[in-house]
């Protein structure tokens, strides 16, 4: 068992598609709670495979997309200080701030380095004791325990030139905001497996309890997603909304207790801005007082001018699932993956990037077949 190919078996996928098509339903909208689900679904061509009455919509699950422009502006401002190295997860460097991305800032001469992990950033700090090393901390509970663990390691090793920014987001807080807002129309939620391995299935109980929506935690291979859609439609048919775990090989009710413990040890909950939502109460994490020596905000007193999102860009609405890429006047014209305007086009897991690529493939197929 390699836990990948077995769950991509084309024969099994075909059988599952057939079963999904046989279930009775009418115009069902399924929100994919994570960019990775959408990416896997697009790669497998699920949208075309499934009956037209099941529409897959992309919600706000992608951390690069919900990270606000202010987080990027803040990192750019910090990089302008002398003797400062800014480190960030590789995928974040192209995300636009108010006026530019970190990639563009790097081209201007800023010392900005893409890293694979927070541990790598800490090692850069240890190797460069004469400089301050900042790690731009973004992402959900998949990532935040790895950062918490690194902070404890930094303290143990007595590292004094290492700092992180405030950017971690509590995954479920976005869906609380989304459902509270009541704008998005969908009949069920697919939640991504990786973050759920940490937070556990109980974290989603409010979805069926308060909003009467079915919810399935899914693995990210083709057959996983198909089985999860089948489970969601079954729940709808039975009219008994609940949280079900399809990705049972990695997710349980409680989640990863060691990871949750270390998160709680290092961080406390705070209000935080999210792209598309504004400031959301209790949605972010900041370092607890006993670790505040690693808080970049305590060292770098950055006063940001008002954050600007690109005018006319509807990424905020796309993230909230109330509009789609094709509603945007820039989509595929001024805004393409090579010259993106908004985060949903930058991120390969973002809705606009996925829609752009799949519409290009469909266009080619039309032209050549």
């Amino acid at each position: 068992m390699k836990y990948v190919d077995e769950f991509r078996n084309p024969g099994l996928a075909k059988g599952l598609v057939k079963k999904v098509a046989e279930l009775p339903r009418r115009n069902v909208r399924v929100m994919m709670g994570g960019g990775m689900i959408a990416h896997a679904a697009a790669e497998a061509g699920l949208e075309d495979m499934l009956h037209k009455e099941v529409t897959l919509i992309l919600g706000p699950g992608c951390p690069r997309c919900v990270t606000p422009a202010s987080a990027i502006d803040n990192a750019i401002a910090i990089s302008e200080f002398p003797k400062t190295i800014v480190t960030i997860h590789g995928g974040m460097t192209m995300i636009p701030g108010s006026s530019k991305s970190l990639e563009a800032k790097k081209a201007e001469g800023g010392d900005i380095r893409a890293v694979y992990s927070c541990t790598e950033a800490l090692n850069i700090a240890i190797k460069n004791p004469e400089k301050n090393v900042i790690f731009v901390a973004v992402g959900y509970e998949t990532t935040s325990p790895t950062v918490a663990s690194t902070i404890i390691e930094a303290q143990r090793k007595g590292v004094e030139n290492f700092y992180i920014t405030r950017g971690h987001i509590i995954f479920t807080s976005i869906f609380r905001a989304l459902l509270e807002g009541g704008e998005a129309r969908f009949n069920g939620l697919l939640m991504p497996g990786p973050v759920s391995t940490i937070i556990g299935s109980k974290a989603y109980d409010f979805i069926p309890e308060k909003y009467k929506l079915p919810c399935v935690i899914t693995g990210l291979e083709t057959c996983d997603i198909l089985q999860s859609i089948y489970m969601l439609l079954k729940q709808m048919e039975e009219d008994k909304p609940r949280v079900e775990i399809q990705y049972s090989r990695c997710v349980n009710e409680e989640g990863n207790l060691a990871a949750k413990k270390i998160l709680n040890e290092v961080f406390e909950v705070c209000d935080s801005p999210l792209r598309g939502f504004g400031v959301v109460p209790k949605s972010g994490l900041k370092l607890r007082k006993k670790y505040e020596q690693f808080d970049a905000e305590k060292v770098y007193n950055v006063q940001l001018e008002e954050t600007k999102e690109s005018k006319g860009c509807i990424c905020g609405e796309v993230i909230r699932g109330v509009m789609t890429s094709s509603d945007c006047p820039f989509f595929g014209k001024a805004c393409t993956p090579r010259r993106p305007i908004g985060p949903c086009m930058v991120d390969p897991h973002g809705a606009c990037s996925l829609n752009y690529r799949s519409s290009s493939v469909r266009g080619l197929l039309r032209r050549f077949t």
Partner: protein
């Protein structure tokens, strides 16, 4: 960024383990967040193992898929 990849634990040294992603790709990862043993598969994200993959649950899921399909 949220990508988590399955890999097999081949060696453990205190909080660090060497894991094999297949096809010869090996990497050292931090295993302090999980209780993993040599030979087990873990889910790796940003240099950390974030969960041990339950083989029995995986087999049950495949069986159930086959039953549905």
């Amino acid at each position: 960024m949220c990508v988590a990849v399955p890999a097999k634990v081949t060696e453990i040294n205190a909080e660090t383990a060497t894991v094999d992603f297949g096809e010869g790709t090996k990497k050292d990862v931090n295993i302090s967040l999980v209780d993993a043993k040599v030979g087990e598969y873990v889910l790796v994200h940003a240099g950390f193992a974030i969960q041990v993959i339950d083989e029995k649950a995986a087999k049950d899921t495949l069986e159930l898929m086959e039953k549905i399909a």
